[in-house]
């Protein structure tokens, strides 16, 4: 029995998430799928588990081409997926979770199911109290319940999507031994991760995906630097930086502890000087957004202090932060930045400093036309935000930044932009920097981080992993750090 993935293509609009992916996984193997965010690994797993239909290509299991149109089809075919957040219904008992989604007659035979639960969990070496509410289980136990359920349903392939997020060290060890046992019993286990160490620990073969394509396949072990290079590609940086003269500290965090979801930033000391650019590196969800939100006043640190221009803003509201000259630009341009159905001119009125009750629309249109020219926005004053391209939305957002801003917090400022637009965005941002604005930005693009930052803060697993001066580091080292390893 082998799982063959043959020339899978899947596009979302212009984005080719999977661009001809082909590889084979043999029976009884623990196979790692490695790739940075947006490489296309989640898309591929969703295709395998029936959430997405392919544009072209096929999935072959045991010599038989599968027709996967829904998760039910995938389970029927023997492919089960464990999601990052286990699909467990918290208010249900263990037993009800177990039988949920199983085929069978209308009447539910709980006592038969209980026998089955016991049989399968014994085989796997798990222990459950069938009457316990799922709410009372740890994340690790929820995973075990999911594994039990999928095995009972006859899974031959199990996909684990970043399964070690949010579980303890012991639970992780337990999970890994379970995975090894499953593979020994002849199952195919796909292990999706961005953590190099886990792939090294666990897997006996690996596929690296970058930009929707398979760029590397090998049996483990593989030297980690090779994996890093395959994941991120070669990073070239021209040395054309002209650092601005640095001034007094604008942003200062002292022993700040910030918690949000799985992020837990502990005792962070960091300052950003006037005219300095700090880049936040790390895989998505490693804590960069949490830090930005805390600096913007959307999140209160649980301990320590955050101050701007020497004034503590610890319990201050978001609007107080705005008044202190902090400006936050989140990644979702149309979700968190602009308002659909509201025009360019209206956006500029919303952020202008005029406070008169009535709006002079002629003057507003004129002012908007001025900004449109200044920022080379392709649109008219009456164009609604959603009619603009991503690059033009970002230009509008730049135009909306107040003149007297002291600290700019940016999340993926050039994501999805073409090279020209990205360069333009940075040109405007560097102008701000020269005026003495401190800039902190998160990015997934190593090239961008190395090109524009003075210092880079690397996040891993919800906390700051390392802080590097940009002159003392390079793309290869960042690749290691992002994966949670120091370069040897």
């Amino acid at each position: 029995m082998a799982l063959e993935i043959r020339d899978i293509h899947k596009s979302f609009g212009p984005v080719r998430a999977n661009d001809g992916i082909t590889f084979v996984v043999e029976e009884g193997s623990l196979h790692g799928i490695l790739g940075e965010n947006g490489a296309g690994k989640s898309t591929l797993m969703k295709i395998l588990s029936g959430f997405y239909e392919t544009d072209s290509g096929e999935v072959v299991l045991d010599g038989e081409a599968l027709d996967l149109r829904s998760p039910a089809d995938a389970i029927q075919a023997g492919i089960g997926m464990l999601h990052q957040d286990p699909l467990v219904f918290l208010p249900f008992t263990v037993l009800d979770n177990f039988v949920l989604g199983s085929p069978g007659p209308v009447r539910l035979d709980r006592s038969a199911a209980r026998v089955e639960l016991e049989r399968v969990s014994d085989e796997l070496g798990f222990r459950f109290d069938p009457e316990r509410l799922a709410r009372g289980l740890t994340v690790g136990e929820r995973q075990q319940l999911e594994i039990t359920r999928l095995m009972w349903l006859g899974a031959k392939v199990l996909i684990f999507d970043e399964p070690t997020t949010g579980i303890s060290e012991t639970q992780r060890a337990q999970l890994f031994s379970t995975l090894r046992n499953l593979a020994e019993d002849g199952l195919i286990v796909l292990f999706v991760s961005h953590k190099l160490e886990e792939i090294e620990d666990l897997c006996d073969s690996v596929t690296v995906i970058r930009q929707g394509k398979v760029v590397f396949e090998a049996a483990m072990p593989v030297p980690p630097d090779e994996l890093v290079e395959k994941m991120f590609g070669k990073v070239f940086v021209e040395d054309d930086r002209e650092p601005a003269p640095l001034g007094a500290p604008v942003l200062e965090l002292s022993l700040a502890t910030i918690e949000e979801g799985t992020s837990h930033i502990e005792d962070l000391n960091l300052s950003c000087l006037a005219g300095e650019v700090i880049g936040l590196a790390g895989l998505e969800g490693s804590g960069q957004r949490t830090l930005l939100r805390a600096c913007a006043g959307l999140l209160n640190p649980t301990a320590g202090n955050v101050s701007v221009d020497g004034n503590s803003l610890n319990k201050a509201s978001y609007r107080d932060h705005l008044a202190a000259g902090v400006h936050y630009l989140p990644a979702g341009r149309l979700e968190e930045g602009l308002v659909e159905g509201v025009s360019i001119a209206e956006h500029l009125v919303l952020t202008s400093e005029d406070t008169g009750f009535f709006i002079d629309w002629d003057a507003a249109d004129e002012a908007a036309q001025q900004e449109i020219n200044d920022y080379s926005i392709k649109g008219r004053p009456s164009s609604p935000a959603e009619a603009l391209s991503g690059g033009n939305q970002q230009r509008l957002l730049l135009a909306m930044i107040p003149d007297d801003v002291r600290l700019l917090l940016l999340e993926h400022p050039t994501r999805g932009l073409d090279v020209g637009s990205a360069a333009y965005v940075w040109q405007r941002l560097l102008e701000r920097r020269s005026d003495g604005t401190a800039i902190v930005f998160a990015s997934a693009d190593l090239d961008e981080l190395l090109r524009y930052s003075d210092r880079i803060v690397v996040f891993f697993d919800g906390d700051v992993f390392s802080v590097r001066d940009v002159a003392d580091t390079d793309g290869e080292e960042l690749g290691y750090l992002i994966g949670g390893k120091e370069r040897m």
């Binding site: 968190e336 602009l338 509201v342 919303l350 009535f358």
Partner: protein, 349 residues
Amino acid sequence: MKILKTTGPTLVSLAAALAFGIALLLLAGAPPFEALWLLVEGSFGSASKISATLLAWSPLLLASAGLVITFAAGLWNIGVEGQIIVGAIAATWVARSLPGPVWVILPATIIAGAIGGLLWALIAGVLKTYGGVHEIFGGLGLDFVAAGMVVYLVLGPWKRTGVASTSGTDIFREPAWMPEFEAFGTSWPVVPVALGLASVFAVWLLLRGTRFGLRLKAVGRNPQSSFLLGIPTNRYILGAFAIGGALAGVAGTVQVAAFHHKLVPSISGGYGFLGILVVLLASFSAVWVAPIALFFVAISVGSTQLDLRLGLDSAYGGVLQGIIVLFVMIGGAWSARRASVSPTARGEP
């Protein structure tokens, strides 16, 4: 061309709704064209009928204008019925207890109605912003409370001298009646119509030309972005509730002081819910509220004739109104779908 594109589907939907309405009449065994003609004649057939239609138009205009504001802020103000009722109760209280001539009582009842509706709406607003209760549930609950309150008052503290009756309180003394204007052999509801039209105009101006209106629209369309732009979203949500509630409350004043001249259990006249339909049909724009509201009350007022002349239940008017809204919304959804699906995705060349 553009006008044809946007009104074309609406006209098709209206035609479909009319056809469906005719089919219903045929099913009921009524002569369809006579019935439809009765709707027109019953609402515009004589000076007194026109006057009655205008009197019904006014509270609907007020309630709809208020709903345009709450919809602009992204709120489903289902509590509008309760706000009309509480406005009517407040106006009744003033009308019953304040002595003096009409020029004292008229503004006093209008202000009382506005305050009553405003406070009732703010309860729903505070529940939403600070209590996490969705405005649909909060509003619906408050509707029932208000409906209970009015029955209690009519049968209890404010019962008619002699015997309590669901037919209402005692008639107000005449200075508490909204003044009317005599012409063409009938009396015209000048004050209510002026209030209604003024409210629609004010709402149009507020949303079109003011910073408050623009921010309200931004909050309604994307509270997250608006908050990040520095707009105090909760304050704007409460402001929308306050304005919407105040206008609904004045509609309540019109109901007691211009139409019934007393407080009755069914004082809202259903104008709150009808207003929601009007605003949906007007696609949330103040400009279209006045003609659509007129069309709707014409159906309501005219449908009483169906009962008298054809023995059909006057509920047919409400059925027709509902059908029109449903068909127009289906038409809107359908054309939106056509617009968003590209020709290639539809499998067309």
